[in-house]
Amino acid sequence: MLARAAIWWSILEMCIAERLAYRGDFVLGTTMRFLPIVTQIFLWTAVFASAGSGKMVGFTRNDIVAYYLLTMIARAFTSMPSLAGGVARQIRDGEIKKFFIQPIDLIGFLLIARIGHKLVYYGVAIGPFALVFFLCRGYFPGWPPAEYFAAFLLSLVLGFLLGFFLEASLGLMGFWILEVSSLLFVYMLFNFFFSGHMFPLEVLPDPWRTWVGWLPLKYLAYFPAAVFLEKIPHDQLWRDVLILAAWVVFFMILCRRLMHAGFRRYSGYGG
């Protein structure tokens, strides 16, 4: 047990070191990621200027800006750059074989590696994030009550797990379809539109709104932000957190089953 923990610890250390090598690029990249917020502020100011009432679908202009900023936090937890693509590439070029030989679990390794990457990311990104949130503090209505804040934090952690297992499952589809990039593209498209990354989901007209509410995608960006802004009614708050947890368990099991089925199917061509 202790030996196993030591293995996982060294994987984590390795990934952190790997990530720290490019920290300058990192800070720049993170800060630049806030630039689209600037145009969003101006765009929504113009939209609300014509609305007159100052409120649309329950959001004021400030709420919308706060919403976009909060989805950036949510996505810092849930987005998994190059996870699915990386897994699919390893399947395609045969690198995946090492997990047959080494006594390391593929999904466990990926998860630890991802945690390592994320930890470094937060360590570096906290600077730009703190700066931007401090500059934009006027857009926020204030801190939510403790219960909502707890649900917000929990939804971020669960959102990380959901994002990880969902994308890992997509990557493992590479055992069946060698080129997953078009699948990933479709996923990315839906994710962008229906996770709430592009706009608060309330903007969608009604039949769509309900359907999108049933997808797991909304937990990747919309849900944590909406919780922080108290846009989720109190009676639905913990129900939705439970549904999120259920999705995490679902994709966790799916991911593992895909891996085992894929390993059985895999024939390992090439040297």
Partner: protein, 314 residues
């Protein structure tokens, strides 16, 4: 590297001067002087089409995916305008003076300019940093043709033309639906012209950014930076108002002229000139000046960057 080119020329000349014009090794001097740029470009375009047609499924996926992104973006603004009608005070839904179909013309213009940039320049600018890193730029420098021309237009991404048709379709859909708009032939002459000017401005910025990869060795975040910068140009310039907006608008109009790229052609078509908006007329004149200035600046930056190129290969 220009010396190398000159050196080749000097070596070639004596052969011709010796009158040995029938030798298999003689090269006619005119071969070095002015290559037919159009013929070379035509060859590039042809080869790119052949390459694209070799992987037809990939070509189709690329075309469909960029069309889908464009349609998603259109969907977002449709939702936004519907929302303004649903929630608004009953007045006409508009964003900074752009009604729904006027804004659709704006989006169509964005698609048009972007598809031209993506078709002609994007794959090449991406390639440039790769060429620098691997030392492949040596081969481009050795060729007896303008290096900037060669590295800017070597590849044509034919699949990007898909959005061109989508944009024209969107224009045909939206223009008749703009209330009180009468179109004159002049607008149809000026619009493509300004779309072209906008494309050239974006090209200048792109090649300047790509040239920095020669200095930095590698510029992986080039595409990101390009995206974030041009992101400002995708909105009507009128939204940049107020104590922060106005300086931002001036910066992106007069220093880095990305705001005129889409705004000027879109306004020419969707909001014709009239006596009370002479500012727009000035802006249209300025766009011409800005295009030539950006082209000249990018040429200068590119040449400077080439001077500090150190070959990287073995």
């Amino acid at each position: 590297m220009r010396n190398a080119e000159g050196g080749m020329r000097k070596e070639a000349e004596p052969t011709v001067a010796a009158g040995d014009s029938h030798s298999a090794f003689s090269i006619h001097p005119s071969a070095f002087h002015s290559p037919s740029y159009f013929a070379v470009f035509w060859m590039f375009a042809r080869n790119s089409l052949i390459r694209d047609m070799t992987f037809r499924a990939n070509f189709l996926i690329e075309a469909v995916s960029s069309a889908t992104w464009a349609l998603m973006n259109l969907g977002f603004y449709t939702l936004l305008y519907d929302l303004m009608v649903r929630d608004g005070s009953g007045g006409p839904a508009q964003i900074a003076g752009w009604g729904k179909f006027q804004f659709f013309v704006f989006i169509a213009t964005t698609m048009l300019v972007n598809s031209l940039v993506q078709a002609f320049f994007m794959p090449n600018a991406e390639e440039l940093s790769e060429l620098t890193r691997t030392g492949g730029l040596d081969f481009a420098l050795l060729k007896p043709i303008d290096t900037q021309f060669l590295v800017s237009l070597q590849k044509v991404s034919w699949s990007s033309f898909g959005n061109l048709f989508l944009a024209i379709g969107l224009l045909a859909y939206s223009l008749p639906r703009i209330e009180g708009l009468t179109l004159s032939p002049l607008q149809f002459i000026l619009y493509p012209l300004y779309v072209l000017l906008g494309t050239l401005i974006l090209y200048s910025i792109m090649i300047s950014l790509a040239a920095t990869s020669i200095w930095l060795g590698r510029n992986q975040s080039l595409y990101d930076f390009w995206f974030y910068l041009t992101n400002f140009s995708r909105y009507p310039m009128e939204i940049y108002e107020g104590p922060y907006g106005t300086p931002l608008r001036r910066l992106f109009t007069f220093v880095i002229p990305i705001l005129v790229v889409i705004n000027v052609p879109a306004a020419i078509l969707a909001k014709p000139f009239s006596a009370n908006n002479s500012y727009r007329l000035y802006l249209a004149v300025f766009a011409i000046v800005a295009t030539f200035a950006s082209l000249a600046a990018s040429r200068w930056i590119f040449q400077r960057a080439l001077l500090s190129y150190r070959s990287a290969s073995s």
